[in-house]
């Protein structure tokens, strides 16, 4: 047991934001009045997710709590409420496909089925090679250009045929993530 504890402590120490990320975090904190720095929690969780492989681990959340000088539970309760924060490891590309009514009128259900079939995964699962995670989401405010999906910060719209889906998946297999603007 003692060994476990020591190992955990080491893991926490490993969570280290880059200088660029810390600068971005400080910029967000500066947007709020004295004593209201907790307001920066959501922006910081976005930065954390981009910084640590597309998800936020308990250790990362603890680090965020430490930075904001708030209790870890205040971070957990927020991270678990908002659906954009992934609480488990995800694939390189998380396919956030809109599954809401207006996109379905234009074929979103069929697109989701095709993705499942082509990647051989169910909703919430990751491909064996770690390339893709399928995560159907609710309305992304792109109803005129559905079926559509989001990967990290970018939207991919009007994917309304098998050919377009194939081309999209092929493109993603060879694609690295965009560098967040605050790292440029």
């Amino acid at each position: 047991m003692a060994g476990d504890k020591i190992k955990m402590a080491e893991t926490i120490n490993e969570v280290k934001f880059s200088d660029a990320a810390m600068a971005e975090i400080q910029r967000y904190i500066s947007h709020y009045p004295e004593g209201r720095h907790k307001s920066a929690l959501l922006p910081i969780l976005h930065i954390a997710q981009a910084e640590f492989g597309g998800w936020v681990s308990p250790e990362v959340m603890d680090k965020v709590a430490e930075i904001l000088n708030i209790k870890p539970i205040e971070v957990y309760e927020v991270a678990t409420f908002y659906t954009m924060f992934n609480l488990k490891p995800v694939g390189k590309h998380v396919l956030e496909v809109c599954r809401t009514g207006p996109c379905c009128l234009r074929g979103a259900d069929q697109m989701i089925d095709m993705i499942k079939q082509k990647l051989n995964i169910e909703e919430g699962e990751t491909t064996a090679d770690g390339m893709f995670t399928l995560k159907p989401v609710e309305c992304l405010a792109s109803c005129g250009s559905g079926p559509m999906l989001q990967v990290r910060e970018l939207y991919y719209e009007n994917i309304d045929s098998e050919e377009k889906l194939d081309a999209f998946l092929e493109m993603m297999r060879n694609k690295e993530h965009e560098t967040p603007t605050w790292k440029k």
Partner: protein, 448 residues
């Protein structure tokens, strides 16, 4: 195509830059308001304009502004609601992406009117790419002396920041938005106190939609009286309509309020008619939470008058035969769409998005989703239809925030207008669950 108050220059190349935006008259309202008008005079113009909240509720903006408490020595805040999440709505995202300075200008002029020295744009977390566009525009405005200390030498100070959400429909509700902006879960607050008295950081706050705020510069430049001349009756001005579904030209259209619904659907200027030469089956005219109407009732009121794109005309007949303009999200269904499946889809959405604070919403949305799922998949019972109506009724009006109503209305209206389609699913599960099967009885009745 009518007057363009919001989108006249939206397709000008480079309009997202300060230089091009100013070349086309940008930031004139800031100069006019800060140098020649008192804050109260700006509020009066907005009152005179008859501008109503463009997020969905349609509450008069000038009146909302005049409720703002102004205790001595307490900061006041203006918060822009850019959480656009109502299914069918994508006008704000499109507008901010293309013309970010128009929102920044509206924020400066409106913040001045309200006496706010710090303002926030709360944008849904999925739109981080739009947040970057806004932040770039804001940085340009700071550099040009349009934000910060002593704006244009007027003595007025304003800081403007953008804050992202994290993926929660409920944060479009203004008190949930404020909670989220404070770094908490998006649980709506009990009212009173209203945000106008105790809002962000317990200070007096006004929360306005993107389109509402972006309309203010034109009103300041041209007067509220001129704005009130556009539109019909109490539906003044122009409105951005997000048109989606089975139409030839999906997209965002700025219309003068009062365009006939039939023209909006079939004119090539707007939706361009139903795709693939199909027939119109139904329309949800104001975002997923407003009642769905069958083709006959969306084109004409129960009294046989042409339905117009106005707050009043779309709600003519109440919930018996009318709907709402809402956020202006116009979702069109062709003859091959299944109302039961769509209603289940919406119910799943509201169940997913319920914050869980109020039992009628937390339990009721899940219950409706379950019942609709079994009808859609061929396991429905005859009594399920009345059960849906009963659950919807028990949610409506019994929750802290309007999400409960928003979840109940689509279900209640679908059953009201398409009851025979639900019955067909229950009586003929095999036929109804066959691939591509659609109930056509209603449509035949309409076209006969």
């Amino acid at each position: 195509m009518g007057l363009k108050i919001l989108t006249e220059h939206i397709n000008v190349p480079g309009i997202e830059t300060l230089e091009v935006y100013r070349k086309h008259g940008g930031y004139k309202s800031v100069e006019k308001a800060l140098k020649t008008m008192s804050p109260d005079e700006v509020v009066e113009e907005v009152k005179t304009s008859g501008l109503r909240g463009r997020g969905g509720a349609g509450f008069p903006t000038g009146m909302k502004w005049s409720f703002l408490a102004k205790p001595e020595g307490v900061p006041r805040y203006l918060v822009c609601n850019a959480d656009e999440s109502e299914p069918g709505t994508f006008k704000d995202r499109w507008f901010m992406e293309k013309n970010p300075h128009a929102l920044v200008e509206g924020m400066i002029t409106s913040s001045y009117a309200l006496g706010a020295n710090t303002s926030y744009i709360y944008i849904r977390g999925e739109l981080l790419f739009v947040l970057r566009i806004l932040e770039k525009a804001i940085a340009e405005a700071y550099a040009a002396g349009l934000l910060g200390k002593n704006i244009l030498g007027s003595g007025y100070d304003l800081d403007l920041h953008v804050a992202p959400g994290g993926g929660a429909y409920i944060c479009g509700e203004e008190t949930a938005l404020l909670e989220s902006l404070e770094g908490k879960r998006g649980n709506p607050r009990n009212k009173p106190p209203f945000p106008a008295v105790k809002g962000l950081f317990q200070c007096p706050t006004v929360v306005n939609n993107v389109e509402t705020i972006a309309s203010v510069p034109w009103i300041v430049n041209n007067t509220g009286a001129e704005y009130a001349k556009v539109g019909v009756g109490r539906s003044t001005g122009t409105k951005l309509i997000s048109a989606s579904g089975n139409i030839n030209n999906p997209g965002v259209f700025e219309i003068e309020l009062g365009v006939p619904v039939e023209e909006f659907i079939y004119s090539d200027q707007y939706c361009g008619g139903i795709w693939n030469g199909k027939q119109l089956k139904a329309v949800v005219p104001g975002g997923s939470s407003v009642p769905i109407l069958p083709a006959n009732l969306i084109l004409k009121t129960a009294a046989g008058e042409d339905r117009l794109m106005t707050y009043e005309s779309l709600s003519d007949g109440g919930f018996v035969s009318g709907s709402m303009l809402g956020s202006g999200a116009f979702i069109v269904f062709d003859e091959d769409q299944c109302i039961v499946r769509n209603t289940w889809n919406y119910a799943r959405f509201y169940h997913h998005e319920s914050c869980g604070q109020c039992s009628p919403c937390r339990e009721g949305t899940g219950w409706m989703e379950k019942v609709l799922h079994r009808i859609e998949y061929g396991h429905g019972h005859q009594q399920d239809i009345d059960l849906l109506v009963s659950v919807a009724k028990q949610i409506e009006g019994n929750t802290i925030c309007p999400l409960g109503d928003a979840a109940a209305w689509p279900v209640a209206s679908a059953v009201r207008h398409f009851r025979d389609e639900f019955e067909w699913h229950i009586k003929h599960p095999k036929e109804a669950t066959a691939p591509g099967a659609v109930y056509r009885g209603q449509l035949d009745a309409v076209t006969a």
